[in-house]
């Protein structure tokens, strides 16, 4: 019995992954027969396989909960917000480069007004523009309403944030 094991026992050969793959159903077809033949004669491996199959079946019973309906809309809104912030960042950096010695916003206040106009241009260039975001949400009809609400919020942010930005700087 010892000889049989030494020759073919995955456990003895430190190849337990063979048994693991066998139980997971991911073992190459040509090796399945080989493992089955061995499991038939090796009590140790048979016991291991049976234990593993019990665990495998037990885990099958663990079902998951449904995903919230507004998951996508919330994500798209976060991305759009982030894109917008990135647009501002790009704009600020570009502007900083134009002004030697850094920005003094008390002096450059009128420039801010011009900059606001530039932002509109950047928003058009933004890869996550409004029409694309809208196209995305059309994929899931049941979420359209929520996504549209998010887009409206965005539109509102778009109107509000230049003011916040200006006061903060």
């Amino acid at each position: 019995m010892k000889n049989t094991k030494d020759n073919a026992c995955p456990m003895q050969k430190n190849e337990g992954e063979l048994l693991l793959s066998y139980c997971a159903g991911s073992l190459a077809a040509e090796r399945v027969a080989e493992v089955e033949r061995h499991v038939g004669v090796c009590p140790e491996c048979r016991s291991w396989v049976e234990g593993q199959q019990t665990v495998w079946q037990a885990l099958e019973a663990w079902e998951v909960e449904p995903v919230s309906a507004d998951f996508e809309a919330a994500l798209f809104a976060r991305i759009a917000r982030e894109e917008k912030a990135a647009g501002w960042q790009r704009w600020r950096e570009a502007w900083r480069r134009l002004l030697p010695g850094g920005l003094d916003w008390r002096v450059a206040a009128p420039a801010g007004a011009i900059a606001l106009l530039l932002v509109v241009g950047l928003a058009v260039e933004n890869p996550f523009r409004r029409e694309q975001a809208e196209a995305m949400v059309k994929l899931e009809a049941r979420e359209i309403e929520k996504a549209e609400r998010a887009l409206e919020d965005l539109e509102m942010l778009r109107q509000l944030e230049p003011l916040e930005e200006e006061t903060r700087l």
Binding site: G16, L20, G51, Q52, W56, A58, W62, V64, I79, P127
Partner: protein
Amino acid sequence: MAVATFEHDAELMLRVREGDAQSFALLLAKHRGPVIHFLYRMIQNQAVAEELAQEVFLRVYRSRASYEPTAKFTTWLFRIASHVALNHIRDGKQERNQESLDQATDEGLGRQVASSAPTVEQRMLREVRLAEIRRTIELLPAKQRAAVLMHKYQEMGYAQIAVALECSESAVKSLLFRAYETLRAKLAHMAGRG
């Protein structure tokens, strides 16, 4: 089919890199379920899992410019998901999970007891078993847990899990063996029960 999927997802991601938001929406629609379910089983709290999944897909979107299809898309995605989950656990943000699990179980049992369905006993047994499975999984060290969940529910191979967990294939085999060893010891009594 695996190759086709690989090419398709990678192709979509390359389009996202070019600024195509619709391709991102397609990737999201396809992969949000598996990612959220993985995170849910890691953290055992649906709200937190969805919050972390938002973080995962935000990271995917943020990485679009540097994305290179060197690995299978799902492997790359689960690398991000594992990273987010392990960070969350490492930062000790999940102390209340077991509590909420106990509560969920009690509520579940309460519902079963109150129910007059003929299968009440079976359903109660099922609830108890499920709670035990969840608790056993939760007791596994986080990295073992991640390895088992990807192996069992995502049907990922050793090499893929190794990439996702940023370790060697032999380390993955060792993680899986130790994890299944624990699960076998704790769940062995479930053998033969329907």
